[in-house]
């Protein structure tokens, strides 16, 4: 048992499932697999036992590039002060139809 296993651990994969046609693939979790094919099979068994999906993507976690170590960071600051990008910024009288 413990200590006996010396080979490297199987790589970690992130799993994305398309719930049904017309929807995006959404991240649902992760799993370990020896290779890509096994990752797809494991993803099916672990994350779609009840018709949760019609399509699965797997990608090695190590291949994901993320914005920053912190979920809150200056990278997203530029969108914070541009309220004029939202439709609610513009005042239009209620009497104008279809807008």
């Amino acid at each position: 048992m413990s200590g006996r296993e010396t080979s490297p651990e199987w790589p970690l994969y992130e799993v994305f499932v398309r719930g049904k046609r017309g929807l995006n693939h959404v991240h649902v979790g992760s799993l370990h697999a020896a290779d890509d094919t096994m990752a797809v099979l494991h993803a099916r068994d672990v994350y779609t036992r009840r018709n949760e999906g019609v399509s699965v993507w797997v990608v090695r976690s190590a291949h994901i590039t993320a914005s920053s170590p912190d979920e809150k960071d200056p990278m997203f600051a530029p969108s914070g002060d541009k309220v004029y990008r939202h439709p609610t910024f513009y005042e239009i009288p209620d009497s104008v139809p279809h807008m």
Partner: protein, 316 residues
């Protein structure tokens, strides 16, 4: 981690918790928060994995093909729940291998309920009704826990636990409509599992030193005693429908509290089982170690195959 930035980071962490917002894996978090979560999620994951055994014992002896298919699906779900939770736990910087090894050599625990044996087929029903029922009571509030990956895993788990509880209750209802002998089997099973199910919520609040801190961090949402009370109040009317007696002479409706009064579980027994002295502790771990060892060649073969594929695809 001790840096000049730590106070500011801690402030940001506290503010996120205060807003009831979620902490995500790459956020800074106090080391004790991380350690508490690793311990709790690992214990939870190990419970799902060990939890396959008591019911797995009945797979080959299910009384019909329907019951067998249901039980197989349920046991497979427990494996899946273990995997969701290991995956959540790994986002905190521990490896799967580390978790596996800590379970196998007893450095991390699993729920004591799985150290009780399943002596009759009625136990499959009772586990679904009471044990999974207690688990649902524990887990529904955890869907809102402050650590994002844990909460998301719990949402998936809770959706599936509902099937577990209902199949158990239906199994018991079917037996209660059967012969006197079958009804006795159900009652005998409920007698054995009622108290251990109450113990699943953990020690009483005054003997649970970490509860306050876990609640302040939003990891736990309710105290052990609150959850235990909720479970008793849920179970009493269900027992009435079923026609079984819960084995507690002190169990009675308290009009003033609008809740049931009930007896004290045997906490000496609880601590004995937690500390390794339950009916099946040794057997459960022994079985898990054997399964792990027996699977070693499969893991090695898959690793070798993947390596050869990567080299040049001679494998197919």
């Amino acid at each position: 981690m001790t840096t000049a930035a730590e106070p500011r980071l801690a402030e940001h962490f506290e503010a996120t918790i205060a807003r009831h917002d979620r902490i995500e894996p790459r956020d800074w978090m106090p080391e004790a928060y991380r350690a508490t979560l690793v311990r709790q999620i690992a214990q939870h994951a190990h419970s799902e994995v060990i939890g396959m055994q008591p019911e797995g014992d009945w797979l080959t002896r299910a009384p019909s093909l329907r019951r067998k298919a249901v039980l197989l699906a349920k046991v497979q779900d427990e494996a899946g729940h273990g995997l969701y939770l290991y995956s959540a736990c790994e986002t905190l910087g521990v490896t799967r291998r580390e978790l596996t090894e800590k379970l196998l050599d007893g450095r991390q625990k699993y729920s004591s309920i799985f150290n009780y044996p399943t002596l009759s087929y009625a136990d499959v029903g009772t586990i679904g009704w009471l044990v999974d029922g207690a688990a649902i009571c524990n887990q529904v509030p955890l869907c809102r826990t402050s650590y994002g990956p844990y909460g998301r895993a719990m949402i998936r788990v809770c959706k599936e636990e509902s099937f577990h509880q209902r199949q158990g209750f239906e199994l018991l209802m079917t037996m209660m409509r059967g012969t006197d002998e079958q009804r006795e089997m159900v009652q005998e099973s409920v007698n054995r599992f009622w108290w251990p199910a109450l113990m699943m919520f953990g020690p009483p609040d005054d003997a649970s030193p970490n509860t306050a801190r876990s609640m302040a961090w939003g990891i736990k949402r309710d105290t052990n005693d609150e959850l235990r009370q909720r479970f008793v109040d849920m179970s009493v009317p269900q027992a009435e429908v079923l026609g079984v007696t819960l084995p507690d002479p002190e169990l009675a409706w308290n009009e003033q509290r609008q809740a049931h009064d009930f007896g004290e579980p045997d906490w000496d027994e609880f601590w004995a089982v937690v500390n390794g002295d339950g009916p099946c502790n040794a057997q459960r771990i022994e079985h898990r170690r054997r399964a792990h060892d027996d699977g070693a060649w499969v893991r090695a073969a898959a690793t070798a195959f993947a390596a050869r594929q990567a080299e040049g695809g001679r494998g197919r």
